[in-house]
Amino acid sequence: MANIFPRWSNLLPLKIAVCAGSAAAGVALAFTYYATPKTLTVGYQPSQPIPFSHKIHVDQVGLDCRYCHSFVEVSGHSNVPGGNTCWNCHQHVQRESPKLAPLHKSMNPAFPGYDGKPIEWVRVHKSPDFVYFNHSAHVNRGVSCQSCHGDVHKMEVVWQDQPHSMGWCLDCHRAPENALRPLEEVYNFNYGDADVLKYTKDQGVKTTKDLGLKLKEQFQVNPKKSCATCHH
């Protein structure tokens, strides 16, 4: 009787093992890179009904965040401005710009096709329903908009700048000094080491982080890490 398997079959099991192994490793790696919020959510940049440019309004016009997001300091929910907020200015400024058609549609009774319905902005930052993030708790304690939303003042169209994953939240809750600022600087997008001196005589304090550490002590900032902080 003869061999049932050809000679070359001797190395086959080894080859298969090697291939399968490397394939599995590859999948794992790919998953960890692509299937995490870091890649999935960061950079999400939907087109809006009105191509509203934060760059123009913040950098050039110099509006404060709170002019439109008026309740960010008092409410957990940072509100999207109502049509009339825009209308306050734009019934005079840039009135004829075709980009503003949707605004006219909702605000300007004289406009053909006026329906008074609010503008439907597309949500960019969406936290899951079981997460209760509270804006007022952060901006009133020295965490800037910039820390979570990035350089909005440079954005023509808003995109998501940070992963906003639980791990990302925890990083900051464990080391708040990286984000802490004097309350006056919370809405200042150009805050940097230069501004530190304004707030301290202490020569040891040079960088924003140094100041952050100082403020952490002074403000008694002690962020919680337990579940109920955000989930209830």
């Binding site: 960061v42 950079g43 999400y44 940049q45 939907p46 087109s47 809006q48 309740f71 300091e73 008092v74 409410s75 957990g76 929910h77 509100n79 999207v80 401005p81 109502g82 049509g83 009339n84 907020t85 909702s106 605000m107 008074g116 319905k117 609010p118 439907e120 902005w121 597309v122 949500r123 899951p128 329903d129 079981f130 209760y132 509270n134 007022s136 708790a137 009133n140 304690r141 020295g142 995109w159 004097p182 309350l183 006056e184 707030y199 301290t200 403020l215 002074q218 403000f219 008694q220 002690n222 919680k224 890490k225 337990s226 579940c227 109920a228 902080t229 989930h231 209830h232």
Partner: protein, 1125 residues
Amino acid sequence: MSKRIWHHPEVPADETTVSWRSAGQLEDTPAFREWLDREFPQGAAEMADESDAETSRRSFLKLMGASTALAGFGTAACRRPESYIVPYTKAPEWIIPGKATYYASSMPRATGATPLVVTTFEGRPTKLAPNKLHPDAEGTDAFAQASVLDLYSPSRSRQILKSGKPAKRAELDAAIAAIATDKSAKIGFLFGADDSPTRKRLAKDISAKFPAAKFYQYEALTGEAPVVLGDGVKLVADFAKADRILALDCDFAGTDPQGPVTPFFDRRKPEGKAYDHKPDAAKMNRLYAVEAAFSLTGGMADHRLRVAASQVALVAARIARELAVPGIVESPEITDSKQVAWIKAMAADLKSNAGKSMVLAGSRQSPAVHQIALAINLALENIGEGKALLALQTEVTGLGSLAALKKDIESGGIDTLFLLTPSNPIYDAPADLDFAGLLAKVKTSIHLSDRTNATAFASTWHIPAAHYLESWSDARSARGTYTVVQPMILPLYPNCVSELEILSALLSDDGKLLDGEGDKEAPSPAYDQVRKTFAALGGEDLSAWKKLLRDGFLADSSYPLATPVASPLAAGSFAAAPVKDALEVIFATDASVYDGRWIDNAWLQEAPDPISKLTWDNAALIAPKTAKELGIYDLIIEPEPVSTILGVESKYADVGPDGEGENRKQPMIQVTVNGRTLEIPVLVSFGQAENTLIIPLGYGQAFDKDDELGRKPANQSHVGLVGINRGFNAYPLRGSATTYFTTGATVELTDKRYSVALVQEHSAMYGRALAREVSTIESDDEKGDFKAQLANVKKQGNDSHAPPNVYLYKPLGSAKWNPGKDGKAQPHLNDPLHQWAMAIDLSACMGCNSCLVACQAENNIPIVGKEQVAKGREMHWIRMDRYFAAQKDNTFDPDNPALVPQPVACVHCESAPCETVCPVNATVHTEDGLNAMAYNRCIGTRYCANNCPYKARRFNFFDYNKRNPLIKHNLYKGPLGEKTVGDADHLQKNPNVTVRMRGVMEKCTYCVQRLKDSVIRQKRGQKQEALVAGKASTEMEVTTKTLRIPVDSVKTACQEACPADAITFGNLLDGDKSALVRSKHIERNYDLLNYIGTRPRTSYLARVKNPNPDMPDARFIGKATIHMV
């Protein structure tokens, strides 16, 4: 970082409605969609994603947040008549998306309006709380708490009916106009028993405009008391002033209020309401109760006498004679010597406290009892200014009774009848009145109700009523304080009309019926009427009006005093005692459906009856002894059954003869009385008078094919899924002469059985010192006096000989990896600002369901339906345990056990057994001492619940929020089952609490959403301080004071609702300034199951009974636990 540009797809116009359409969506009517569109325009749009619509009400919030933010700026999004509403002081801001706004309003009721603070989110009322500023402030009972659900009830009436068929608004308008313009119309108005000044005023105007108009009043279960006291006069109790209280079949703490009850409970606490002085028995009040079956009041009583309802008059008369009260005719002597002894001693106590005592007669008791009670009170000088009882002249006068109405109709005095009463006369009027026949005689009958009940279909017209949270009105509270009723939101459905709007329509020249929205943007006519009424009382100027809206009431506007006189007692006021073959049937007011008007309220239906613990149905209650005599129950489960195992005598709990859990099936009896019969399941109730049968009213309104007993389908359109096939209707047994009780009933056992859903099936503590009780008098069984007993509270039961708990290791973190500021290891509970804790005072807790329902409303707790409750799957975070403790050696009345309620929710153990067993860290402790539950991490191993000694955890066995549990077997159909998504119920959900999905564990959170909110609000103070001081934030010092919330400033939902102030909650770090900390330090404070060493944050305060040493039963009082080793 790659930027993927995402082009948002256009949402087609019709999409908005499509997203709301899903299988079995009760609310998917054009009406609802229209409402949604006009109320939340952006809402409809963002609902494009089905999953949003289904799973999370928060997305709903988010979108509404946005849309009402627009509203805040005055675009046409929110239709609330905003310019006329001033926010309640608590919330200085205008509507802010994501933040609750609070308004003062009130709930009109027969016994006086309940002053309320209404929580609204973007215009949705979601939660009610008592208005503590109000002079008649007290808690909110289960009915008030649950009333918000009615606003969103899917079965709510929303269609105009003409003789039972849907009709056009125009037709109705025509009909009304016709009446309004015919000055000679013979109109009759049937009002409820509540007192509304504006309605009173309009009634006057109406009788001016229509000379032939007549006014009547009817509510099924408000009694004949006024007849005795004089027209519109009522006695109101001021419990703060009462040292001795005698309740003659009067459940003043429960379904039969006699005035604000909170002060009564304040005086049940020997350390005072704020726990701020040494325990002092003298400061406590003493309650004597004479009643047939346990009521909440009877459960609180220090001395309780069991007599049939028909015998109360006799007892009252005997007491009167004891006190030598003039004008009481000789009454038959009481044969039972023990009762006599009881009465004598009690009477003596009343006498010695003359002027500081009160005798309260149940409002449904016979006039005789009221006459005697009045006579006694007058004799003891208990009535009058500064006394415990106030006789007040209400404005509810000149109203005819149902009998009068009958006469007028038969004499043709009435062509048009407006049925404005909250009751349902066709269903609940005394049988012998034959109200249906009566109504048929009336040419036009117009019925206003938020339910399409029997009367709705029997009348010519039915008009859907606006909920009190949707309409303008006013009311009088218990002592007559003028209280406003203001709308939180426009009527959810078009054509919903309020009582005042109908009246004003009749008064207007053209008789045009204007509803809540009024003409374009114009306020409702009711608004103008209320303002007019108020102007007369509080002046014209706007500031007064605004103050009214802000505070909810007008100060110093209570009723004037009246001087009632005792009237001679009619002969034949005394009935013979019931006997075995001529039982007495007592038609009880039901704690869940009242007179039947709440039949469609799922929260109330699922809330267990405080005494019998029965949900979703009613059943006849009978005393064990009687049951035995009648042979309808061969084995009774006694309060503490004793058996012998292996020669050792021991208590043990076998399953009763009628099963346990889902297998429980009660035998049915056939009751025959007044020539009518009723088949109803029977339950044994302890402490009930012999030879009586208690049958709660209000059930059995409609049946369909799914009925368990196969009763023939009827009235299916009268109720919704909640009320269908519920219980048994006892109204037909009632005659006008026997509205409360009737005698001569015979009972026979049928071979049928009916499954009942009881949430508690074992009434004894089985020798475990769980709910602890002491008495203020010397105890003769070596337990010593009051002082000694207090000192012993912590040592009762197993704790008397359990060794102290020793902890081998310290609850510390790692010094190397997670060091504290000082570089040392941090303790686990390391929040320096707040450490939350709670104390529940059993001395005040009476076991009503107020906290339970409040919790349900606050925390989005689903209902699960009768079958699931029977299995033992109810979701209430608070389990209201109720224990009976019988004295083995009770020689006075062995069948009269003590009743001790004990609400048990998660006690937030510092050393929580549930945490260590969770494999995925879904339940862990927070720095401020909460036992947190992360729903989104939970995979549902249910190990935590097994390891929870208090069994305080609840598991979502099904998708209760998504699948309608009320449809038979629906839960078991899984994906094929009918959904409740888009159902208006979802609008009630609290946006700050996650709606739990199937397969996760949940439990009490100490209302963590409220804690977080208050703590965060406090943090904002830091910035304010900086601004005020005009310094840079970095120059300001931030202290504990800045960041710690004010003492006792945050309340949990249960605490807020509790009418007895039995729950204190607060921050352990507040020191003695906090009532909580004080309550933790008093001797009565003990930990439930301390033996295990879980170190719970919720502790209990032992119940104190204040017996009268001279009473024959004194030595058996206050020993529910004390007699145990």
